[in-house]
């Protein structure tokens, strides 16, 4: 079974600030890490490989430093890694990101199964997985909380819905976006890390893609435009009560009563 996992490098902390003058994101330093939700996708892939054999590849789109997350995937047990990196990919929204990833996947070969995380901790849209599946014309299921059965021709999974769980069989090839906690991700292994430290990472640029039209990538290929970023509003209509417990309880009661909750 050939499995591909999509992984993204994200800032280590999401305590970002906006420069009040320029309105530009201040990313505190360059510290970054693997998107935590993608660890669950990698673990799912490794679990399947242990059950059914085959290989686990990873793909990431990002600047050269994103090699770091591919190396981390190697030290968990992934076999091969590809980085899509090109200045012309910069500034991509979900449409352009998923298109670039789909083009990269086509350039890499055929996969039975593509796995994505639930969402990222930076852009936080949870849209990339379903959009990749559209570009590749694959069936997809999101919110996968459990794998029930792996067969020659497909996979049976549980999709988590608010009031029920839907058990569905999806034919290969397909794409799944897995929930957090589907499996407990293993820690990177020191042995694997040293074994794989010289393992080559394939780097693909726009010139390696089948579609070489620059207008379909990066900022050019992004229909959404970020006009402005700003810190969330804090509330200024407020009352501060700094009194004894007795008085606070009384004031709280009066207010709740006024609002008709008692």
């Amino acid at each position: 079974m050939k499995i591909l996992v999509c992984i993204k490098q994200v800032p280590d902390s999401n305590k970002v600030e906006v420069d009040p003058v320029t309105g530009v994101l201040k990313r505190n330093g360059a510290a970054s890490k693997m998107n935590p939700y993608d660890l669950y996708a990698i673990e799912t892939a490794l679990w399947m490989k242990e059950k059914a054999g085959g290989s686990v590849d990873v793909i990431s789109m990002g600047p050269p430093q994103a090699m770091q997350v591919i190396k981390e995937a190697f030290s968990m047990g992934a076999d091969r890694g590809t980085l899509l990196s090109d200045r012309r990919f910069g500034g991509a929204d979900v449409l352009a990101t998923s298109y670039t990833l789909a083009q990269g996947i086509k350039a890499m070969g055929e996969y039975d199964l593509i796995l994505c995380g639930k969402q990222t901790t930076d852009g936080d849209t949870a849209q990339v997985g379903p959009e990749i599946s559209e570009w590749l014309d694959l069936p997809s299921v999101s919110n996968v909380v459990r794998i029930r059965k792996l067969e020659e021709d497909g996979i049976t999974v549980d999709m988590d819905l608010p009031d029920e769980v839907e058990v569905a069989k999806v034919k290969f090839p397909c794409l799944l976006a897995v929930e957090k906690d589907i499996f407990q991700p293993r820690l990177p292994s020191y042995v694997k890390k040293s074994e794989t430290k010289d393992r080559e990472i394939q780097v693909l640029t726009l010139d390696d893609m089948k579609d070489k039209d620059e207008m379909n990538y990066g900022l050019n290929g992004s229909p959404t435009q970020v006009q402005k970023i700003f810190p969330p509003e804090t509330n200024d209509k407020k009352e501060v009560w700094d009194e004894s417990g007795e008085v606070l309880a009384k004031k709280l009661f009066n207010k709740i009563e006024e609002l008709k909750f008692v």
Binding site: V16, E164, E166, Q225, P232, T234, W241, G245, L259
Partner: protein, 350 residues
């Protein structure tokens, strides 16, 4: 710098008119986010004088579609087909595509439900257009561009996003972000029954079984929440909060450390990695107000925060900041409520 000379494809915005809302439902039971979005669409359509449409697809839903006319939609497009009984990504996308090509709506709003979050991106990619996730503020401009404001980085920043050169412009919105409109007794608008060829509805996903989850009341559906944070020192002290919640007809919710310590189940967690709630009344008890927590509750109508640290960040979001000890305030508050309701004062030693 290559980014500076971006060429943009020109589209004719006049060919795209109106705001469409996707009717989210399971077995014909319409998810309330749908009504919220129709309300929002009505409000925005006043700016451009264009119509509000609803797309409703499923099986045996013709009658149920009437309900949507009580919320002010101008046209409800109904696709009623055997193959659409359950949400399946491929046929649902096919219907959505057919609808867009037929109606050419300028904007589309989709509830960020489990279904909406899979369907909207698939549709956006098919139409090669932009999709803005989890918008908290939407405004219509006279030129039909939609201003979409959404949190990112776990709510630490807000982004103002536009889709100026593509149509339709699509946005998802979570439940309880927009105001629920009042259901009008009378109906307005019309139902348009649509057809789609059977061969468009094939798919590679087979629903094998549907397992019920334990019926439970979700904290999202509670009008009143009493939230436990780490200021609650012992597990047994949660009963104070439970009692207050019960008296107010609400539920107890909590911060992440409460879940991590095993005191409460993850389904009661509010926040970025928990649930987004928008109750009418929320009382946080011993919650510091980390941004990941606040992101899940700062749209609540009235926020009371009890914390003994005057510098606690929760006071930035609260409407009423009670600087004090929850162990002093809660028993006294509970006693007062009981007194009013004619119940004997609760004895803390019980």
């Amino acid at each position: 710098e290559y980014m500076e000379d971006v060429k943009k494809n020109e589209i004719n915005k006049d060919e795209w008119k109106g705001i469409a809302v996707y009717a989210d439902h399971v077995d014909g039971t319409i998810h309330p986010v749908t009504f919220e979005l129709i309300g929002k669409a009505k409000e925005m359509s006043a700016v451009t004088g264009q119509e509000v449409y609803v797309l409703f697809m499923g099986k045996d839903i013709r009658e149920k579609s009437e309900e949507l006319l009580h919320y002010g939609a101008d046209k409800v497009f109904v696709y009623d087909k055997e193959e659409l009984a359950r949400f399946k990504i491929e046929p649902y996308t096919a219907v959505f595509e057919a609808f867009i090509k037929k109606v050419k709506p300028s904007s589309i709003l989709v509830g960020a439900t489990t279904v909406g979050r899979q369907l909207a991106p698939r549709v956006a990619a098919r139409m090669k257009t932009g999709l803005t996730a989890d918008c908290t503020i939407l405004e219509m401009n006279e030129n039909t561009d939609l201003s979409q404001i959404r949190p990112a980085f776990g709510g630490n920043i807000m982004a103002h996003i536009k889709t100026p050169n593509h149509r339709p412009q699509i946005a998802t919105v979570r439940y309880k972000i927009m105001n629920a409109p009042v259901r009008s007794e009378s109906k307005s608008g019309e139902i348009v029954v649509c057809d789609i060829k059977k061969e468009k509805l094939s798919c590679y996903v087979d629903v094998i079984d549907i397992l019920p989850k334990e019926k439970e009341t979700f904290i999202e559906n509670s009008d009143v929440l009493v939230v436990a944070g780490r200021g609650v020192k012992k597990e047994e002290d949660l009963r104070l909060l439970r009692e207050l919640a019960e008296l107010l007809g609400g539920q107890v919710a909590c911060t992440r450390p409460m879940v991590e310590s095993g005191w409460l189940d993850a389904k009661y967690q509010v926040g970025l990695s928990g649930r987004t709630v928008r109750p009418k009344l929320i009382i946080t008890c011993g919650v510091s107000g980390a941004i990941q927590f606040v992101a899940g509750m700062d749209h609540s109508d009235t926020i009371f925060a009890i914390n003994n640290d005057p510098k606690a960040p929760i006071f930035k979001s609260a409407h009423y900041c009670l600087i004090g000890d929850l162990y002093e305030i809660l028993p006294k508050l509970i006693a007062r409520i009981k007194e009013k309701e004619g119940v004997e004062a609760w004895d803390i030693r019980k």
